[in-house]
Symmetry: C2
Subunit: 434 residues, 2 copies
């Protein structure tokens, strides 16, 4: 009996035919992040489960329902990372980056994991590009602006069009407590009409009710008046200044007083970027300040360290990009068509190696077959040049060089072991083509 | 009480100060793999545990002791991938790549996982670059040669020097059975002297005894005469031809009759690359043919599909590289020194954004501080140019442009909102420096 092995539910293979857009996003991201002077950091795929419980909040859905834990005999073990912020703050503190510099501008690109019930756009393994700005000097409101501008610049570079930037402020830790009280007060009378999940959220994490997708909850939330009365003067002025700077730098945004983000660690500025191509799960990325997270993770002595960051979902980005932009043509400099066997193949293989050593991308078919079938292969690889070698050529110490763009063909003679003539001819022809 | 969260045992953070060599290896690998016309494939971080049990062999150490499993209620669940070959053959078959092309040349770069007892050079999460050539047409002995040449070309491109290539053949599936019998026959008399692990291996997987690092086992194995008598004529001729082609293409190698690789799936050609900088765990990479693996994973109907591949350990590569090569200088095009606050910072931030939009890598300090301290920051970033803006400059609509290499300084005036003069001057100066 044959067992069929399948890709795990909620994950997917990225095949060679689909990889071009992933490689392009990686390349563009690195170029833009370098312009903004962010440096890459890589943390492990799994972390202590306690790190996520402590930082994301015991009441968040991610911690309650969605951690993918490693099997372990111990009481509390490791979990695959569901997000990048907590691991990077952990790495920042454990490696004492705060002792080395007063401002660390970090980025990451990689997979994250959540044990979600699979549904459209919800994956168990998904990929994110994100940044974290951490340090004693990370408090400037210009950093909020830089981070927001960077997120929009990345999406623009990827070719994502029509995105909307939503921003809000949660105020200080104190303001957040006031806002929670205000929300409970407004929702109290209608609590029985909330969905079951939201009835649980009412005491434990009232902010999550604002993100609920149930029709009844959406209607109740829509009736609440948000008036910023919970904000301290300092947080209010800070938010006004940020909006002012964004405007002066021509960044369009929408104020979204209902935007709160479900994670415990956010304070002050929060933002979300939506895209109309994504349907109901329309967020392509989100972020915010987490000024208390360094203390939560590192303890009292780290309480002056500030932080802000965002992450973009790569699968979401790809969904939002125009189909046209996803097509990236493969290219091969030289295909080697070998007609014959034995010594002819041996000679062909030696030429192939010399061409690769000279820096060309080059390939051959490795299977005895007709010229017609080899030319078909060359076309499939989108080869610019074809080098042909058969019995005649081996005898004459020559090859035929065919220019697939110009449809020209020439015979090139070379002396024993010296392919310089061929290499130079090929360089010349490829230079013209580039 | 503060809990300290640490990086999981056997894993590590790669910090911004260490990242350059990782990025460089990634870049070089992609360049060389593209020359050889290999295309990237990405499979999930975890797979069905059964896939690894079936393909690596129930008796292998990896499956017996080293799988990191995900927590699950079901009898058999998922495990973090310990290697790349089985997942890629699974993805190849599940996505019917064999129906689309007769030869697939695939590569991967990413983390692998083993639940090892941590020791020098043994990690729970480690990174590999690997290739797999799979298909109905993957049988050519030139493909064995290409794959071996590619592995050596990659190491050369990374700057790994002094590596040794060891090659051997296990022969066909039948030959392997004969070889196992021969080994048992030779070891039988000395079985009591073998270490405990090897006494278990004697029946279950006798090949693993050849890899044992225990002094007593090494001595016993050294006394066995390997004479290739187990090889079929076909496999013998194949191996002779491969050695001949490698020689003709100037690839140095050492014949290593004791090299067998511990995984069930290998047949025919196997190879290993060692490096003297690595100490006792001296393999920087290894690979071989696995002609039966597609059938093992995909069933009877896939029995004509052939495969060969290798993987290189990135942590090992980095250990083997000269310290000098690991130093990659950071560079920033422009640092913006802002002297003042309020409107001056606001102007500075707008200039910063314009410079980034124009394609420069640029940054500012985001903290009110002295010119001296900002110049120190500019030097730390290795900035080529510094743009200075203070009260005078804002009033005059000007900036000072300082060339850090030439130690020259000039004032640049610009009209409202038009920074073209500055952008052109900066481009000119950076072009000269590049």
């Amino acid at each position: 009996m044959t067992v069929r092995y399948s890709v795990p539910r909620g994950t997917s293979d990225i095949l060679p035919g689909q990889i071009a857009i992933w490689q392009e996003i990686d390349k563009q991201a690195r170029a833009i992040l370098s312009r903004f002077n962010y440096r890459e950091i890589r943390t492990p795929i799994f972390e202590e489960t306690g790190l996520f419980k402590r930082s994301l909040g015991q009441t968040s859905d991610i911690v309650n329902k969605q951690l993918l834990e490693l099997a372990s005999n111990k009481e509390e073990g490791y979990s695959l990372r569901p997000e990048g912020t907590a691991p990077i703050v952990r790495a920042y503190l454990e490696n004492s980056l705060d002792k080395q510099e007063s401002l660390s501008k970090l980025f990451y690109i990689g997979p994250m994991f959540r044990g979600e019930r699979p549904q459209k756009g919800r994956l168990r393994q998904f990929n994110q590009i994100g940044v974290e700005v951490i340090g004693l000097n990370a408090d400037s409101l210009y950093i909020d602006c830089e981070v927001i501008i960077l997120s929009m610049s990345l999406l623009k570079a990827f070719g994502v069009q029509g995105s909307k930037l939503l921003i809000n402020t949660l105020g200080s830790e104190n303001d957040k407590v006031k806002l929670a009280g205000y929300l409970r007060d407004k929702l109290k009378g209608r609590a029985p009409e909330l969905c079951e999940d939201c009835q649980n959220r009412f005491e434990r994490n009232v902010f999550r009710i604002l993100d609920c997708k149930e029709r009844s909850c959406i209607n109740i939330v829509a009736g609440i008046n948000f008036d910023n009365s919970y904000l301290s003067e300092e947080s209010r002025i800070r938010f006004e200044s940020i909006k002012d700077i964004l405007q002066k730098n021509k960044i369009e945004f929408i104020e979204a007083p209902r935007l709160v983000r479900g994670l415990d660690y956010y304070t002050e500025t929060v933002f979300e970027i939506t895209n109309p191509n994504l349907g109901s799960q329309d967020a392509v990325g989100a972020g915010g300040r987490y000024n208390n997270l360094p203390e939560v993770i590192g303890g009292e002595s780290k309480k002056d360290i500030r932080g802000i960051g965002f992450s973009l979902g790569i699968e979401r980005i790809i969904l939002a990009i125009d189909e046209e932009l996803k097509k990236v043509e493969e290219k091969l400099d030289i295909f080697l068509a070998v007609l014959g066997k034995g010594e002819i193949v041996e000679q062909g293989f030696a030429i192939l190696n010399s061409l690769r050593r000279a820096g060309f991308s080059a390939d051959m078919g490795y299977q005895e077959s007709s010229l017609k079938s080899q030319m078909r292969f060359a076309n499939k690889c989108n080869a610019r040049l074809v080098v042909m070698i058969g019995e005649d050529e081996v005898r004459k110490k020559a090859v035929l060089l065919k220019d697939m763009v110009k449809s020209e063909q020439e015979e090139i003679l070379f002396s024993e072991d010296n392919l310089d003539v061929l290499i130079n001819k090929a360089r010349e022809r490829l230079k013209v083509l580039c």
